[in-house]
């Protein structure tokens, strides 16, 4: 007589069902031991128990709505580890002679018996053609697996690609382009002939707002803000000479003074910071070590006034750090620091348009707030630099976490345009809530909470407004 393969559901109350199954899945010996123990009372029926089938716990008595509703598995939706759960039965797999099937079904320890029916993978049967394997080619969207981009970096992309990735089109169709939002750029100066500079620092007659060359770092930041928010306006706060704590202190004071006058700028972009970490024993008052340093206190004053502050994570990631980085400040735990690592700011890491982290993007934990960076955003785009762009080929494309940060700030400007009453913390929360995870689900120290996505954040805010109404 030929034997048939069956699934046998055996009464077996357990409180550690998940642990038991995980144990069986990790060891065929354990799987066999469990299966044989469960089928022990059925030995006289000539069962050929399949030891490589890990017994599966069952938590419902049947498929009725009532049985399913009685489960407490709704808690599994939360991103935390839940307690194990009690099961009533376990399913094992065995081969049995057809003539013994009736006895098996009626056995007092057996809750049910089902055929272990064979299934087929659906396909067209054409195995000759090698299909493409690149997710981006196949589905028109980069793989959510993430990855790494190191020297030589992949080519830059145009701003249409970045806008597509950010999902700004649907927000524009609702009439929001960043109009009536002013972003303060604290940097080396912006070219006001090309970019919409309407104010800023009055500290220097030599470098008034908008007087910087088109190839300036600040002009790159300006271009990248306009990627998502093309109707936003800009204030230019140029450092006078080399950026330093004192200059930063002055620029943030000017921002605070402007906000006192008329509530602008609505947010600031800060694509600068330190590139090395001095020993704490030698420099305990350095802004990297001293959270009470006046530069941090002034940043917090500005945020308290309602203006979110976007800071670049830095370019000292482990895999291919910038040549400017000192060895003391490269890699996890050492490359996001000073104001850029304050809990209250939005710290931005960098990915390319293919959702690969660029290997120079600094990595958390931050040296003040450990859960840094907050989000990732796009770099290596033809914004100010590149073919047909205002800055020409002085650089191959906009680059660094310096470029990723204003792209994210532009998204923030777009959201503020649509939801002008958002506070700085609410704006940050919305960006995090809409961020798209790459690699492991949830927060990680390479990408933060994920890659910024304007459409998702906009929809979350829209829905929350509807809920409030």
């Amino acid at each position: 007589m030929s034997k048939i393969s069956v699934l046998i559901e055996i009464a077996d109350k357990r409180s550690d069902s998940f642990a038991m199954h995980r144990s069986a899945m990790s060891s065929e010996m354990e799987s066999t031991t469990q299966s044989e123990a469960l089928g022990k009372s059925l030995a006289k029926l000539g069962l050929d128990i399949q030891g490589d089938f890990a017994p599966v716990p069952m938590f419902t008595k049947d498929s009725s709505e009532k049985a399913v509703a009685s489960l407490s598995f709704a808690d599994f939706a939360s991103p935390t580890v839940n307690a194990d759960a009690p099961s009533d039965t376990h399913v094992i797999c065995a081969h049995i002679d057809h003539s013994n099937l009736d006895k098996l079904t009626k056995h007092e320890d057996v809750a049910a018996v089902w055929p272990n029916a064979k299934m087929t993978l659906f396909g067209n049967g054409d195995g000759d053609m090698a299909p493409p394997t690149d997710i981006e080619t196949l589905f028109g969207w980069p793989s959510s697996r993430g990855g790494l981009d190191c020297r030589p970096f992949r080519d830059g992309v145009d701003i249409a690609t970045i806008r597509d990735r950010l999902g700004v089109q649907s927000i524009w169709e609702d009439g929001f382009h960043g109009q009536n939002i002013v972003v303060g750029i604290i940097d080396e100066g912006v070219n006001g002939d090309v970019y919409p500079v309407i104010g800023g620092s009055d500290l220097s007659q030599i470098r008034p707002p908008g007087a910087a060359p088109i190839t300036s770092h600040g002009s790159m930041c300006a271009a990248d803000i306009l990627v998502a928010a093309p109707a936003a306006q800009l204030y230019d706060y140029p450092f006078l000479g080399v950026p330093d704590s004192g200059g930063m202190l002055q620029m943030f004071q000017l921002v605070l003074e402007q906000r006192r006058q008329d509530g602008t700028p609505h947010l600031t972009n800060n694509s600068y910071g330190f590139t090395g970490v001095p020993p704490q024993s030698e420099a305990p008052r350095h802004p990297i070590w001293d959270r009470n340093h006046v530069q941090h206190r002034k940043v917090l004053e500005v945020i308290a006034s309602g203006a979110a502050a976007f800071f670049a994570a830095g370019n000292c990631g482990q895999e291919c750090p910038s040549g400017n980085c000192h060895s003391s400040g490269i890699g996890p735990e050492r490359s996001i620091h000073a104001s850029n690592s304050l809990d209250e700011v939005v710290t931005v890491a960098a990915v390319n348009a293919h959702h690969q982290r660029v290997g120079y993007s600094s990595q958390g934990p931050g040296m003040f707030a450990t859960d840094k960076p907050d989000i990732a955003s796009y770099t290596h785009l033809f914004g100010n630099f590149g073919p047909g762009r205002p800055g020409g080929f002085a650089q191959p494309y906009d680059n660094g976490t310096s470029a990723a940060t204003p792209v994210a700030a532009g998204v923030a400007a777009l959201l503020l345009c649509a939801f002008p009453d958002l506070t700085a913390p609410e704006l940050k929360d919305a960006l995090i809530a809409g961020a798209m995870s790459v690699g492991p689900i949830g927060f990680d120290h390479d990408h933060g909470h994920g890659i910024v996505n304007a459409a998702a954040s906009y929809n979350i805010l829209s829905n929350s407004q509807i809920m409030m109404v």
Partner: protein, 74 residues
């Protein structure tokens, strides 16, 4: 000489600060526009010796001495 950011009570005048710091070999940076901090303090740019923070620790006129550190564009 090292760059410092020296915080005083807002009631302290620039002249008082200069008089205080000059004997220590410091100069208040005339090109640095003083920055108010909160409602009661003001920050001056100062050039001074590397041990200035230690020298002024506990001083009744100066409330804080922070290094003015250089940064880089990312």
């Amino acid at each position: 000489m090292k760059k410092w950011l020296v915080t005083t009570d807002a009631a302290v005048s620039l002249e008082q600060l200069r008089d205080k710091l000059a004997p220590l070999g410091c100069t208040v940076d005339a090109d640095y526009r003083p920055v108010p901090l909160g409602e009661t303090e003001i920050v001056y740019g100062v050039l001074g010796p590397a041990d200035l923070a230690d020298t002024l620790a506990g001083d009744d006129m100066v409330t804080d001495v922070c290094p003015n550190e250089e940064m880089s564009l990312y």
